[in-house]
C-alpha cells in the first residue's frame, strides 16, 4: 500500500508527520505499553494509567 504521509520539507513544517516522527512515536507508545503491563501486573495500575494518559498528552502537546 502506498504511503501517503508527506515527506519532511525544508522548513520543517511537516516534520511532525514524517516517517521518522511516526517511528519515534510508535517506540514511545510501545514503551508506555510495556510500563502499563509491568505496573498493572505488579498491582500498581494507577501508575500504568498515568503513563498511558501522559503519553497521550505528550503526543498532543499540552503545555501544562
Amino acid at each position: 500500500m502506498r504511503d501517503r504521509r508527506p515527506a519532511a520539507d525544508a522548513d520543517g513544517m511537516n516534520r511532525n508527520n514524517s516517517r521518522a516522527a511516526h517511528r519515534w512515536r510508535t517506540a514511545l507508545k510501545l514503551t508506555g505499553l510495556v510500563l502499563f503491563v509491568l505496573t498493572g501486573v505488579g498491582g500498581l495500575a494507577v501508575i500504568g494509567f498515568f503513563v498511558v494518559v501522559l503519553v497521550g498528552l505528550s503526543q498532543w502537546g499540552s503545555n501544562k
Partner: protein, 405 residues
C-alpha cells in the same frame, strides 16, 4: 445533554485534570496508600469540582483576553455557554467540592475552602492576583499543587502537617512555579493588550527563563531531599530529566520563533510531568515493597519514556491529526475566489483557491492539502516585539491540525 456534559469536561480542561489527579495520587502515595485506587476516588471528585469552580471564575474574568489568546477554544469566548450558565456551573461545582471534602474530614474542608478562596482571588476583582506578576505565578501552583496533594494525603488518613509531607509539597510547589511561568509565553499577546502584568510581560524572556531554572533546580533538590527511601535509580532518572529541562530552558531564552517556543515549552512540560510520575512510581513501589529488579526496570523505562517524549516534541512537535479527504470541499475550493479577513487575534484567516501556486511550507501543492495551524506568539526580549500568531489557510479537502493547549 451530551453536548453539555462534553462542554463541562472540556471546561475543566482534561490536561489540567490529569495533572491535578497526578498530584492527588502523589499525596496518597506519600501517605503510604499508593497501591489503593479506590482511595483515590473521593479526593479526585473534590479536585474535579474544585477545578470546575476555578475555571469558571477564570473564564468569567478573562473572557475578553481569551478571545485574543485562545480564540474558539473557551466555551464562554465562543458563546457555547452563557455567563449565567458559567455562574451556575461555578457555584454548583463549589458547593459539590465543599460537600465531598466535608465528608473527608474537617482538615480537607479547610484545604478545599482555602484553595477556592485563592482561586477566586486569582481571577476575580478586586483582588485579581493574575495581574500581579510573580505573585500570580506563586498563587496558581498553590491551587494546582497544594489542594490536590493535601487532599490525597488527607484521604489516606495521614496528618497533612507532618514534616515529610510539607517538605515534599514545598518541592512540588517550587518545581511547578518553574513550569507555570512558561505558560505565559502562549498568552503574552492578549496579556500585553489587556494590561495583564505577568512576570514575562514585566521582565522579558531571559529573566523569566532564569527564574524558571532557579525554581526547577530548587524544586528538584527539595523533592529529592524529602523523598523517602531515596534510590540511585530514582536519583539518576530525576537528574536526567532535570538536565534535559534546563537545556530546553537555555534554548528558550533565545527567541527563535513562536513555533519553536511552543515545542520547547511543551517538551519542558513533559519533563515536569515525567518527574512527578517518577516520584509517584517511586513512592508507590516502595510502599508496595517491590524488588530491586522490577523497581529499577520501571524507573529506568519511565526515565527513558520521558526523555524520549521530550526529544520527540523538540524534533517533531505535537502530533498532527490527519482528517479525511473531502471531495466536495476540494471542488468548492477550486472555484476562483480569494478573500482575506482579519480575525480578532490579529492573525489572518485566508481562503484562496484556483489558481494557487504550490506551497513550499507543506511540500505539496496546496490544492491537495488543507493546513490549519496555530502560530503562537514570538516573544521577545522587549515585550513590544510582537508578530501575528495565528493563521489559517484553507485550500482543499484534507486537513492537518496541530493543537497545543
Amino acid at each position: 445533554m451530551i453536548t453539555r456534559a462534553r462542554l463541562i469536561v472540556l471546561l475543566a480542561r482534561p490536561a489540567v485534570i490529569v495533572l491535578l489527579a497526578m498530584f492527588t495520587a502523589v499525596g496518597l502515595a506519600q501517605a503510604g496508600r499508593g497501591q489503593d485506587p479506590a482511595a483515590l476516588i473521593p479526593p479526585l471528585a473534590v479536585v474535579f469540582a474544585f477545578l470546575l469552580f476555578s475555571v469558571a471564575c477564570n473564564d468569567l474574568a478573562d473572557e475578553a483576553i481569551d478571545r485574543v489568546n485562545l480564540p474558539g477554544q473557551r466555551p464562554l469566548a465562543t458563546g457555547a455557554l452563557s455567563r449565567r450558565e458559567f455562574g451556575i456551573i461555578g457555584i454548583t461545582a463549589g458547593v459539590v467540592a465543599l460537600g465531598i471534602s466535608a465528608a473527608l474530614g474537617p482538615a480537607a474542608l479547610v484545604v478545599t475552602f482555602a484553595g477556592m478562596c485563592v482561586s477566586a482571588g486569582y481571577s476575580l476583582r478586586p483582588v485579581r492576583l493574575a495581574d500581579r506578576g510573580a505573585v500570580a505565578s506563586m498563587a496558581l501552583p498553590a491551587c494546582y499543587v497544594a489542594v490536590p496533594y493535601l487532599l490525597g494525603v488527607l484521604a489516606a488518613g495521614a496528618p497533612a502537617l507532618s514534616r515529610g509531607t510539607m517538605f515534599l509539597l514545598g518541592g512540588l510547589y517550587l518545581g511547578f512555579i518553574g513550569r507555570i511561568l512558561l505558560k505565559d509565553f502562549r498568552d503574552v499577546r492578549g496579556d500585553v493588550l489587556f494590561g495583564k502584568r505577568t512576570f514575562l510581560v514585566r521582565h522579558g524572556r531571559v529573566r523569566t527563563c532564569v527564574l524558571s531554572v532557579c525554581c526547577w533546580v530548587g524544586g528538584t533538590g527539595v523533592i529529592l531531599a524529602a523523598t523517602r527511601h531515596l534510590t540511585l535509580a530514582f536519583l539518576l532518572a530525576e537528574a536526567g530529566c532535570l538536565a534535559a529541562a534546563l537545556a530546553l530552558l537555555r534554548a528558550l531564552a533565545r527567541d527563535r520563533g513562536a513555533r519553536r517556543d511552543e515545542f520547547l515549552i511543551s517538551a519542558t512540560a513533559i519533563a515536569g510531568r515525567g518527574m512527578v510520575l517518577l516520584l509517584l512510581a517511586h513512592l508507590s513501589m516502595v510502599s508496595a515493597g517491590w524488588g530491586v529488579i522490577r523497581y529499577d526496570a520501571v524507573i529506568g523505562l519511565l526515565g527513558l519514556l520521558t526523555i524520549g517524549q521530550m526529544v520527540s516534541m523538540v524534533r517533531y512537535g505535537p502530533q498532527t491529526h490527519q482528517m479525511s479527504f473531502d471531495p466536495e470541499l476540494a471542488l468548492a475550493n477550486r472555484r476562483p475566489q480569494s478573500r482575506t479577513r482579519s480575525s480578532n487575534s490579529g492573525g489572518e484567516t485566508t481562503w484562496k483557491s484556483a489558481p494557487v501556486p504550490p506551497r513550499a511550507m507543506t511540500g505539496q501543492s496546496s490544492e491537495s492539502v488543507v493546513m490549519r495551524t496555530r502560530h503562537r506568539l514570538a516573544l521577545i526580549s522587549s515585550t513590544t516585539d510582537q508578530r501575528p500568531m495565528r493563521s489559517r489557510t484553507t485550500a482543499a479537502g484534507a486537513s492537518t491540525r496541530t493543537s497545543v493547549s
